[in-house]
Symmetry: C2
Subunit: 356 residues, 2 copies
C-alpha cells in the first residue's frame, strides 16, 4: 500500500509527474534535449525571480553544496558556516572534507541565524563566502534571508551560498533582489519530484570568484557547466527523465501562480502550526517558523515509531526527530503537491490514533 | 515520433523499464528502500562476478570517475592515464582539474592500449593508480582488460580504475578475477536505463588507499559511502526511481542468463561488423573491436547528418563521428536491449537510404 509522504523529502509525487518521468528516451545531444533544458531552466528562473543561469545537476543537493564550496572559496581564505541544525552541520563537514578552511557560527537548535550574528562575524573581513541553510528541516526553523540579505549587501566580496533545498518552490526566494550568489535545491522537496536532480542558480560574482579558485574539480565546476549551458546542454549525460518531470511540474506551478503556490504552502503551515500549538507545542522559535515543515514537540510522549506504524496502515507517514531529537519531536512536512485536505486528513488520523 | 536510439548512450529504453521508473515514491530511510538497494546491488555483484561492495551513485559516470581519482591518488604520487580516444582524454582532464598529478600513455585513436605499453610505464614505480577506459566509444576499440590484468597483478600497490561505462553489462567483466579496484559504469549504456545513476564496485585495496588520501571530498568519498552501504543506504538522497528501474532490469538480465546476454551483444557486434566490412570499412583495429559499438569508416562519403535525418523519418538514430572524426566515421551502438532484429532493421534502413 502506498504511504503518502509527509516527510521532508522525498515528498509525495503525483501520478502525472511520475508519468512525465517515464517518457521515451532521447539523446542528450539532440535538439529536442536542448529545447527541453532551455524550457525547464527558464521556468525555474521565473520561480527564483532571477536572470542568473540555472544549472541542472544530476546529483543529490549534497554534491552541489560541496561543489559550491569548491568554486567559491580560495585556498588562503575561509568560509563562514552558519549552523542551526543538522543540515548546516553537514555542509560544514563537506567543506572540511574538501580541505577548505571554515569558521562556524553556531546557533542553538530551534533558534534562527540572525542578520546581527552574521554581521558580527563578517566584519573581520576574513571570508570568501557564507554558507547558510535557509530552511532547517531538523528543527523547523526558516532563517530570515530577506533580513540577512541586507547584511550581505554590505560585503560585496563575500559569496553568499544558500542551501534552499527544503524551501525553494515552497517559499518565495527572489534571488536577484536578495543577491544570493549560489542558490541550491534538490527537486525531491517542494518541487515534489522524485530525488536525483539538483537545481542551482549561480551569479556573476560566483563565476568571477571561481576563476580565482584552483582545483574546482570537473563535475561541479561552474565554468564547465556554463560553457555547456550556453548551448542548453550539460558536460556529462544528465538525468533526462528528471528534466522531463521538472518541465512538467514547473508548468503546473506556474499555472497555479507563484503567489498562490507560496500562499498554499503558508496556509498548510499555519494549519499545522495551529494544530500543533493546540495539542502539542512547537519546537522552533515562533518568529522563524518554516513554511514547509513543522517540528512538533512530543508533549504527549507518544511512541513515534508506533504512531508511524498506525499511520502507515492508513496510508501516511511522518518523520521522527532527527538524530538526538528522535522521540522528543516529530516532523510534518507540508510542501510540494500536498494540500490543505491532506493536512486535515493527516492531523485527523493522528488524533484518531492517540485517542485509541 | 520516437527514434530508436542506436547511439552510444542513452540507449533504447523499453516501456517496462520506463514504467519501473514511474513507481510511487518511498522514503530513502524506509525499510522498503534498504531492501530495494540490497536487492539491486546484489544483482549487479552477480553481473560483475564480484564480492566487492557495489555503490549506487546518483551522478553521471564522470562524477564518479573524478571521485575515484580523488580517492585513489595520494598527493605525492601520480596516476597513469591510458588514452586511446576522447573518453580517456576526458578522464585525464578531470584528474588534472582536481590538482592530481598524471602521466599520459597515449595511443593512436583506433588502436588499443596493450599490456606491454602499460607495463613499460608501470615499471618506473611512480604510480598510485592506472586509469583505463575499457571501451572507447569514440573509436569502437575495446581494450584487452583480461591481458592487461596479468600486468596489473604484478603491481599490487597500484589501484586499477576502469571506466567500464559503455562495456559493463555488454561484455563480461569478472571484477574479482581481474583484480579491478574501481569499476565504473553509468546505467544509460548497456544497462539500457535512462541516464542519472552510476554503479561502481570498490575493492579493499581501494578502500585502504583512500584512507591515506586527504581531501577526498564528501559526495564521492568511498568511506562515507561504505558506512551507509552497510545499512543498505546512501549518505545523500539517491535517485530512487533509477534504482527501481535498475532492480527490474537486473532481473531481466539475469533471467536472460549472463552468458546469453553477453553472447547477444557479441552476435549483434559481429553482424554489424560484417555489414560494415562489406559496405564500408571498420575504423578500429580488427583485433580489438568493441562488443557494444562499431565505428564505421564513411568510405561512401555519405552526409551523416542527412543520413540521420532520413533515419529519423523512419524512427531510428545513429551517431556521427566524435570531435574531429565527424563525417569521417559514423557509429552504431549495439547494446542494452537492442536485438538482432533491430540490427537487421537498421542496416536495411541505411542501405535503403544510400541507394535512393
Amino acid at each position: 500500500m502506498y504511504k503518502k509522504l509527509f516527510i521532508p523529502g522525498p515528498t509525495h509525487v503525483r501520478d502525472e509527474v511520475l508519468q512525465a518521468m517515464a517518457r521515451p528516451m532521447i539523446g542528450h545531444r539532440f535538439k529536442e534535449y536542448a529545447e527541453l533544458q532551455a524550457e525547464a531552466t527558464s521556468k525555474v528562473q521565473k520561480l527564483l525571480y532571477t536572470e542568473n543561469p540555472v544549472f541542472l545537476f544530476t546529483s543529490a543537493s549534497s554534491g552541489v553544496m560541496e561543489g559550491a564550496a569548491r568554486n567559491c572559496i580560495r585556498d588562503d581564505k575561509k568560509v563562514l558556516c552558519a549552523i542551526n541544525g543538522a543540515f548546516g552541520a553537514r555542509w560544514h563537514d563537506m567543506i572540511l572534507a574538501n580541505g577548505k578552511e571554515a569558521d562556524v557560527l553556531e546557533v542553538e537548535w530551534g533558534q534562527a541565524v540572525t542578520p546581527e550574528l552574521i554581521e558580527a562575524k563578517l566584519s573581520s573581513d576574513e571570508y570568501d563566502a557564507v554558507a547558510l541553510t535557509h530552511n532547517e528541516t531538523s528543527t523547523g526553523v526558516m532563517n530570515p534571508i530577506y533580513e540577512i540579505a541586507e547584511v550581505m549587501k554590505k560585503y560585496p566580496d563575500v559569496c553568499w551560498m544558500v542551501d534552499a533545498v527544503s524551501s525553494m518552490a515552497g517559499a518565495k526566494i527572489e534571488v536577484d533582489k536578495l543577491g544570493i550568489d549560489v542558490c541550491i535545491a534538490g527537486v525531491q522537496k517542494a518541487f515534489a519530484l522524485p530525488p536525483g536532480l539538483t537545481v542551482c542558480s549561480v551569479s556573476q560574482k560566483a563565476f568571477d570568484r571561481a576563476k580565482e579558485v584552483k582545483n574546482r574539480g570537473w563535475y561541479f565546476d561552474f565554468h564547465l557547466m556554463l560553457k555547456y549551458y550556453h548551448r542548453n546542454q550539460t558536460p556529462a549525460t544528465p538525468s533526462i527523465s528528471h528534466i522531463f518531470a521538472l518541465n512538467k511540474q514547473m508548468d503546473d506551478i506556474l499555472a497555479e501562480g507563484l503567489e498562490a503556490h507560496f500562499q498554499r504552502h503558508l496556509d498548510m503551515a499555519e494549519f499545522v502550526r495551529d494544530w500543533a500549538r493546540r495539542h502539542f507545542a512547537l519546537y522552533a522559535d515562533e518568529r522563524y517558523l518554516s513554511n514547509t515543515l513543522t517540528a512538533v514537540v512530543n508533549t504527549r510522549g507518544l511512541s513515534v515509531p508506533k504512531l508511524n506504524q498506525a499511520l502507515a496502515e492508513q496510508g501516511a507517514v511522518i518523520s521522527d526527530g532527527y538524530g538526538t531529537l528522535k522521540g522528543k519531536i516529530f516532523r510534518i512536512a507540508h510542501m510540494g503537491d500536498l494540500t490543505m485536505d491532506d493536512m486535515r486528513w493527516l492531523t485527523g488520523l493522528i488524533e484518531g490514533i492517540w485517542n485509541l
